[in-house]
């Protein structure tokens, strides 16, 4: 179902040169390229980037480029492109899990007395535990995107050759669930990060409320086999709110990082409020909206 057209009927008349899966793949490539910058800046906080921290920094741009190449290759050698893309996404899941493990290890005190090994303040002040899971999410969405669904919204994925696999949900509904997980991990990361302050700044409640709202709406939408137009409008608004929250967060983080007279100090940009982090809200919001695009293949005749 072309959900975006159910919200905006006029959109059917606009020819879209790419399929939903292709737009999603482009979005994921862009994600990798942006993540390379973000992880570099995040790992620069300690002043020295150690070996483990180079893994996502080097993996991200390479993954982005390979995905773009796979996209170009898919017009001539689809099977090879699918294998390449799958390898990238599976590697992304591994990188994400590894990162989450390394971050988690920094957040707990394994040799501390029982009961004191983990605490909420430790999670707040440790490297963001959920941040590396963005790689897992991208990998997961990527793997879901790579396989063609035939027919659309059937949940039946065509693997290489003639083999098919029946998934529990249609691709669209799976995207809604993944969007919900994305919103959830984004809002938790944001809350943990913002908990370094005392939440007295009213602006900090905006991403918290919007994130919880969007995660719930996306989850509930995934439950519906046939959502109504009102359901889709609510979801669309939630995703737009996510995007606006991301853009607003970018502005506010930069404002906080500037000096009292508005000067840019590189050290403050790196050590201070991570200016690219809020864009994860916008990113998930955009992925959520892409899920509303037409799941049918684009005819090139």
């Amino acid at each position: 179902m072309y959900h975006l057209a159910a919200i905006f009927p006029g959109i059917r008349r606009i020819p879209v040169p790419f399929s939903r899966d292709q737009v999603m793949m482009l979005m994921l490539s862009l994600n990798f390229l942006l993540l390379s910058v973000e992880t570099y800046l995040a790992h620069l906080v300690s002043g020295t980037i150690v070996i483990n921290e180079w893994i996502p920094i080097l993996f991200s741009p390479a993954a982005g480029v390979v995905l773009l190449l796979a996209g170009i290759l898919s017009f001539r050698k689809r099977n090879l492109a699918v294998i390449l893309a799958n390898l990238v996404f599976i590697a992304s899941i591994v990188v994400g899990l590894l990162g989450a493990y390394f971050h988690l290890m920094r957040a707990i005190l394994p040799d501390a007395p029982a009961g004191q090994q983990a605490s909420i303040p430790l999670f707040i002040w440790a490297p963001p535990i959920l941040a590396p899971l963005v790689y897992v999410l991208i990998g997961w969405i990527g793997v879901s995107t790579v396989w063609t669904e035939e027919p659309a919204d059937s949940g039946k994925l065509v693997l290489n050759g003639e083999k098919t696999i029946q998934m529990p949900f249609s691709k669209t509904r799976a995207f809604f669930f993944l969007t919900s997980i994305g919103c959830l991990s984004t809002v938790i990361s944001s809350v943990l990060d913002h908990s370094r302050t005392d939440f007295s700044n009213a602006w900090l409640w905006v991403p918290t409320i919007v994130g919880i709202f969007a995660a719930t709406v996306a989850f509930v939408l995934g439950l519906y086999e046939n959502p109504t137009r009102a359901d889709l409008i609510t979801y669309f608004c939630a995703m737009v709110l996510m995007i606006l929250t991301g853009v607003m967060g970018l502005y506010l983080h930069i404002q906080i990082d500037l000096t009292s007279r508005g000067e840019v100090v590189v050290e403050r940009l790196i050590q201070g409020a991570p200016f690219m982090a809020p864009m994860l809200f916008a990113d998930i919001g955009a992925i959520g909206i892409i899920a509303l695009l037409n799941p049918e293949k684009v005819s090139r005749e």
Partner: protein
Amino acid sequence: MEKSNNPMRASRTLIIGVMAVLLTLSLVLIIQAVTQSGEPVETEEVDVLANSTNKCVLCHRDESPGIVKQYSDSTMAAAEVACEDCHEVQEGYPGSVAHAGTNVLASPTTAKCTTCHEKQVAEFNQSRHGLPAYIAVEGTEGLSQDLMALYEQIPEGGYAPDKSRNAIAALEGDALTGFTCSACHNIGKPAEDGSVGQCQMCHLRHEFSLEQVRKPETCNFCHIGPDHPQYEIYTESPHGIAYHTMGYEWNWEAEPGTLTVEDFPAATCAICHISGFGATASSHDVGERLSWYLFAPISSKRPAWEENTGRMQGVCIECHNQNFINDFYQSADLATERVNELVVESDQIYGELKENQLLTDAPFDEPIDYEYFELWHHWGRTTKFGVWMQGPDYSQWHGAYEVLHSLAELREMAAQKLAEAGLE
């Protein structure tokens, strides 16, 4: 009842259930995080090494429990930096000793610190806290070519290829030097592995606490006493008054590079000279914000004084307006030049005696040598530091007044010598 013949489709409810659990747990975590927000991590309340099976920890818990206790309170231990990461080196490593079946550096050198703190060590090496501090006492004798090359590259290091051992240190002798000059000047001592400096002079072992290193008492170890009483001057300055009366409320554990007036409403030694604050980035080159060589007998502007001044004023302007800062710099420049004039006068008096061969060649062997030295080394410096750090009692009674007093003494001593030589 509907029956699913596809196992994947049958897992729908399970997936929905897991998602619902995730959502609920996330909400609980969010509520927990919000309710505990703003609370700093008190690692000192947790013995992070309590159940450690690390052999260093196990043995030293009996041998030297103090250092294990300190380290267990540290953020380095919480970050799982092990004793071996800093102390253990390969067999034959310069300065290492065989210890408990391995090779260790009793005191890790900056070559080890730079593994994780590369930027900070590089900045330190460019500063007067590095080699110039050591050379000021020990001279350049015995330094390797690499160290001499490093020394030459320090922009404000006052490079001199054949600096001899400090005359006072030489007179006092080695038995005393370790407890006197070197106790501070070894901050820039080269290690056997060719690296320079001792981070632990400021970052006390083994807690490596941000609060400790940021507090002015840390600088007090060296920057005190008649030759450079910066700590005392700071204490009587408005900045120091703010620290002593309200510093307990300041955010001593604030993340480096993010400090604002919210964390530190008034300046400390670190805020002015090291920490990132306002438009000025943090640096372990402690001279990077200074405009004058105030420690010199006759002060001159530092080679990069304009950039340095800009950096310092980037800190000042967080609390003071530009007119105030400009006026202050203008007045302090004039005061510095006035001290220079008085020291020049002492040079002329002393120089006349030298010219007429009325002084011995040996340093510090007669009272006039001490009077001449103290005039600039103690009183001249104190006046200038008092001016720039806003400690009026030090710039007046411990500084300018003493300069005048010494000048009078010097004049009388010189007149007596000239009279005795029949040259009056």
